[in-house]
Symmetry: C2
Subunit: 229 residues, 2 copies
DNA sequence: TCAAAAGTGTTTGATCTACACCCATGC
DNA sequence: GCATGGGTGTAGATCAAACACTTTTGA
């Protein structure tokens, strides 16, 4: 840092934007809102907000996420900081983008109405304001990279889930199909799932066993890196 | 974003910091400077600077890097944005950190003296100002992740390099040892190196063949992801 | 002639892929 | 009793890991 610039005010504003992913059992989705103020009133947008003087960017992202979803303690990770000169047409604003993974079932209809929010399939996102489409593309890439080796997929599912649900989630994230025998074998061989004595019977007559992610076993591994796919 | 805050001035300053990696043939190193102004005068630090109104963060990072090293067109990538409330003891400053890979031979002695800069082995970095040690740790993790599947290692070597040099580089980055037969087999099987009819004879009597990275062949692969290690 | 680093192949075990049938149940 | 999705095993191919000797040449 050059000493002479230390006390200058940058006059550049700082925002955070949240890419919120959810999974409805069939497709990976992102939560978007219809923007309620100028500029770009009425257009679809990511949820965001300005960084306040007394909060970190993580705090701000959590504040925004909580405001939109009512949820706390959500899995969230910094994605990238976007600083193109004209990315926001109204002012010079840089945006620190975060991506979050939530269980779509915990996001209420009420919240959806309150904020004019809507879930869009990741492959069918409309044209968004500013560089928000770019943010989503980047978030999807990072999500793909992370779920291949970290236990994040579970964040998008209910606490109890079935192996077929998990497989369809991975298929949605990677836009591919996976062999169900090989998938089940590999996932179970990681030794981080615990099978319950309950079955989920919504999607089939036979019913599929429910599993929970076993944090204790996962932490014992301490390699941090696994191969989910 | 909340409409009412759109026109407020954040009064938070924005800086960039550069984690500059180099490789001297034996160890992975980072370039640090002795800070020439308050606060924290005389302490070791990463090179940084404030973001100017009319430049992107990438521009600023390149400006800082060019100022310190005289180099342009350097491999550089955004690492993370650090926004802890008291990370800079003098003011509220958030820092967008970048990591850069340079060929250590292109960094002149003269530049080193001009800026009171010094290369430190990655495992022997002194206590730095603010959160700069954290930045370096995070940069090393990202470097490890990236070089496993992307052709970045070459950025740290001269244009012409030998396979043993490349292997020692990977050994330094991962703090491990690699079997030279397996390494050579794997690297050459990627099909992205071109062997020259020259040998490098500094480090052995027999001499080792020089190779260059073949961008054309690499781009033809278009998978983007390889397995270097 | 010897010291120092370069170069090279094979065997073994592990992992990945492809693939098809029976099971349990609600209708 | 039949349609629907759940659950399971094996064989072949590919990939990763371990491992030791010969070559070159400057000193």
């Amino acid at each position: 840092m050059a000493a002479d610039s230390y006390h200058q005010t940058s006059k550049i504003q700082i925002a955070v934007d949240c890419i919120i992913f959810g999974f409805d059992g069939a497709a990976l989705k992102v939560l978007l809102i219809k923007r309620g103020f100028e500029p770009e009133f009425g257009k679809w947008s990511l949820m965001g907000g300005f960084l306040m003087k007394n909060e970190t960017a993580e705090d701000a992202a959590n504040r925004v996420l909580h405001f939109l979803t009512g949820l706390k303690d959500v899995y969230m990770e910094q994605l990238h900081t976007f600083s193109a000169l004209n990315r926001d047409c109204a002012a010079r604003v840089i945006s620190i983008a975060y991506f979050a993974l939530i269980d779509i079932n915990e996001y209420s209809e009420q919240m959806q109405r309150d904020h004019e929010a809507k879930w869009f399939p990741i492959d069918d996102v409309p044209g968004l304001i500013f560089d928000h489409n770019l943010m989503i593309a980047k978030a999807r890439d990072l999500l793909r990279m992370k779920v291949a080796s970290h236990p994040l997929g579970f964040e998008l599912l209910p606490e109890k889930f079935t192996i077929p649900q998990l497989r369809i989630l991975y298929e949605s994230i990677y836009a591919t199909t996976l062999d169900k025998r090989n998938f089940q074998k590999k996932i179970l061989s990681l030794g981080i799932l615990h099978r319950l004595d309950e079955k989920e019977k919504e999607s089939s007559k036979k019913g599929a066993f429910l599993y929970v992610f076993d944090h204790v076993k996962y932490n014992r591994l301490q390699s941090g890196e696994l191969k989910f796919i």
